[in-house]
Amino acid sequence: MFKLLSLGNIFFWIEKLTKFINSIFFVLLLVALSFALILSPPDYLQGDSVRIMYVHVPSAWIGLASFTSIALLSIANFLFKIKNIKLITKSIAPIGLMFTCLAIVTGSLWGQPTWGTWWAWDARITSMLILALFYIGFIAAHKFISKEERANKISSLVAIIGLINVPIIKYSVEWWNTLHQPASIKLTGSSTIHSSMLMPLMLMFFVLLLYCALIFLMKYKTEIIRIKKKNLKRL
């Protein structure tokens, strides 16, 4: 089991997975974009501006999911001190930050035609902005603290504190009066979104997830090489 999880084996599987994702990615992207931009119907209230949802919602989901996984892995790292965990969290963070920023920017572009404003200090938007700040804190700890052990401790702490913000983002639309509507897609219970819109949304989400996997694998590979390079210098 431990042999399977060795950096050498992981490196081998990264190569295989990257090739597989590359082979299916562009076809899926084209299909997803066709549905999102052409084939899906306009909304009866928002018209064609609803198409922004197909990049905004998956971006927000990925931003949230990435931070949750970083925080949970950081807790695991504090408890079990597994070397691989810090490589994983370090590789996820830039992807999460990018998608959080994309959710904020595309949300702003959706807000103007829908609410008549680019920005509002609404609970959901503000908590997403705070999430981006936590991401920046996590990445900055790795970038500017030279002692690796200390950088890991501080970044893990930032992630664990930031975890408090995740349920706030999720339930902000229920706890406060916000411009955002309550969630249309529920994991438990029936969703209020029509299947003609749900299908393209899920397709775009899947394509963006594949993209994240691709970036994550490349970043993880870079981190492995960085470690091996350090070890080589000790020879």
Binding site: D48, S49, I52, S59, I95, L109, I215, I224, K229
Partner: protein
């Protein structure tokens, strides 16, 4: 039809900007990540090649990562 697709009933600017920004951000991050990976692979392969024959043999025998990086590097060179 193309004009309808571009204008999106007056929402074209917002919809297309959202997709374009997402696309550009994704391409930028992909390019930056790919370039960094290639740079590290190149440097790592170069450092292995600079080792003595015996040291190089030990590294390749003991590290799967080193042998894989070296083989992919030699393919690209």
């Amino acid at each position: 039809m193309i004009q309808n697709l571009l204008s999106m009933n007056g929402y074209g600017l917002f919809v297309w900007s959202s997709f374009l920004i997402t696309f550009l951000a994704c391409v930028f991050i992909y390019y930056k990540t790919y370039k960094t990976l290639r740079k590290y692979e190149r440097e790592f392969a170069k450092e292995i090649n600079e080792l003595s024959v015996e040291q190089k043999k030990i590294v390749i025998e003991n590290s799967k990562v080193a042998s894989q990086v070296l083989s992919s590097y030699s393919k690209t060179v």
